[in-house]
Amino acid sequence: MSITTTENGTVQAQRPASGRRTNYRALRRGLTSFIILLVGWELIGRFVLTNQVFAVPFSAVVQSAIEMWGRGELQTNIAASLTAVAYGMVLAMIIGILIGVAMGASTAFREYVEPLLTAFYATPLVAMAPILILWFGIGIASKIAVVFLMAIFPIAINTSAGIRNTDREYLEVAYAFRASRLQAVWKVMIPAAIPFVVTGLRLAVGRAIVGVVVGELFGARAGLGFLIFTAGQTFDTPSLFVGVITLAFIGMGLTLGIRAVEDRISGWKGTVQE
């Protein structure tokens, strides 16, 4: 990072020029891989695996997507899945951050709950989807529950790590200015933990998408998982791929969005735990 002063006298931070060039190069190489993949897929779909149930060329998938968009079917299913992800993520954020802050601020609380959280984090909780559907019924409630369960653990664990990793120096400054314990948590620990929380959110979003799809596979009347499930049942391979690719785009979009936020605040703190 270097500091430059612009004409109107404001100081701005800039990335080094070589960094930017590397970014373009990386982007170009990444796109090349995608293009090779899609061309290869098209060729194999057309000339090698010609059975339309096992594989379809990429162009058939695009065509199917256009048709589904025209019927409004794609939008409805995207909206259904995203709604469940949004509700589940918001709930997981509120409760996860609360738990994380409490864990960071109270050693006793952390020692009680951390082993549980770590165990749950490592458990493939998507396997709980069928029972959650039994509990909450077929519909959005059970999907929200799956998303919530998938998302809450990385958020809570990262928040707690962020709070505990608060620079001792920052706390000393606060105490030198006679901060109360509560002020230290509120004005120092929580802001200092934000980069960790954002990383937690990024990890959570990927899991949330897996959660919503699995929830929809087991029982739902709408959503991209439901779309994939019905396509599979009716051997409609192009539609199946439309569902999968749409999910990939959503997941990539959300992750990149959070990454951008992380990059912006990375000046705050050098390293963020994964």
Partner: protein, 255 residues
């Protein structure tokens, strides 16, 4: 009136299973409104002493009494600035006022005045990672001044500044401490800075440190930079310099 009284202060740190004795039997009295400068070799425990006064570090034995106890407000200037990267310059300077529940309508103009004082007008909205080391150090200073403390505890406040800014800041500090009758305890490695600012200079010796000498600086006030060219000034500098270098050699020999 006594602003600060250290009696028989000793300090040891537990480090790698061993007890490291930093300071042995330091006693010192500072009058209200007095300007005390502490010099001594690197690592002898100056920062630790200041942190003990502020209550950031425990004492191994002895006692520290601050004039009116917690009622004496203290502005602390950290050796490493300790600015919050998530706060703008203005909000960093407002920190102490905010923690004391001073309403924003009152805190903001006060903070702005201090930012102006340290020559950072126009940088209120900037973030610490957009500032140079010297600029950060001045924010650190403004943050301590903003609470208008009875006592200023300053750990090498001007170390990162260029010569010109340093001299400006010294002049400001002389003015502020004289006008407001603040008690100041300042650590520095610059002996001419010590002589220019101090009513008394406490010279700390090598570890475990103790007070080698307290030199009263009988130079007229208000002091200006011209004073530095006088033989009296130079005599004080030479005397203290000799003591500090001697202590520094001891530190090296003593490991």
């Amino acid at each position: 009136m006594i602003a600060l009284e250290l009696s028989h202060v000793s300090k040891s740190f537990a480090s790698r299973g061993q007890s490291l004795e930093i300071m042995r039997d330091v006693s010192l009295t500072v009058q209200a409104g007095e300007f005390l400068v502490v010099v001594g070799p690197s690592g002898c425990g100056k920062s630790t002493l200041l942190r003990m006064i502020q209550g950031l570090e425990t004492l191994s034995s002895g006692s520290v009494r601050v004039g009116a106890g917690e009622a004496t407000t203290r502005g602390f200037v950290f050796q490493r600035d300790g600015l919050y990267p998530w706060r703008s310059v203005l909000r960093n300077v407002m920190l102490g006022l905010e923690l004391a529940h001073v309403p924003v309508s009152e805190a903001k103009p006060r903070a702005e005045a201090m930012i102006d004082l340290v020559g950072l007008r126009g940088f209120e909205g900037h973030y610490p990672n957009e500032l140079s080391g010297g600029m950060r150090q001045r924010v650190n200073l403004a943050r301590a001044l903003a609470i208008d403390p009875d006592m200023l505890l300053m750990d090498e406040p001007f170390a990162a500044l260029d010569a010109l800014t340093r001299e400006n800041m010294q002049q400001e500090l002389i003015r502020i401490s004289a006008a407001a009758g603040k008690t100041v305890i300042l650590i520095t490695h610059q002996i001419d800075e010590a002589v220019l600012l101090a009513d008394r200079v406490a010279v700390l010796g090598a570890r475990p440190s103790h007070i080698l000498d307290i030199v009263r600086i009988d130079l007229p006030r208000p002091r200006t930079l011209d004073l530095k060219r006088t033989p009296e000034f130079q005599a004080y500098v030479d005397g203290i310099w000799t003591m500090v270098t001697q202590a520094e050699t001891e530190t090296r020999v003593g490991g």
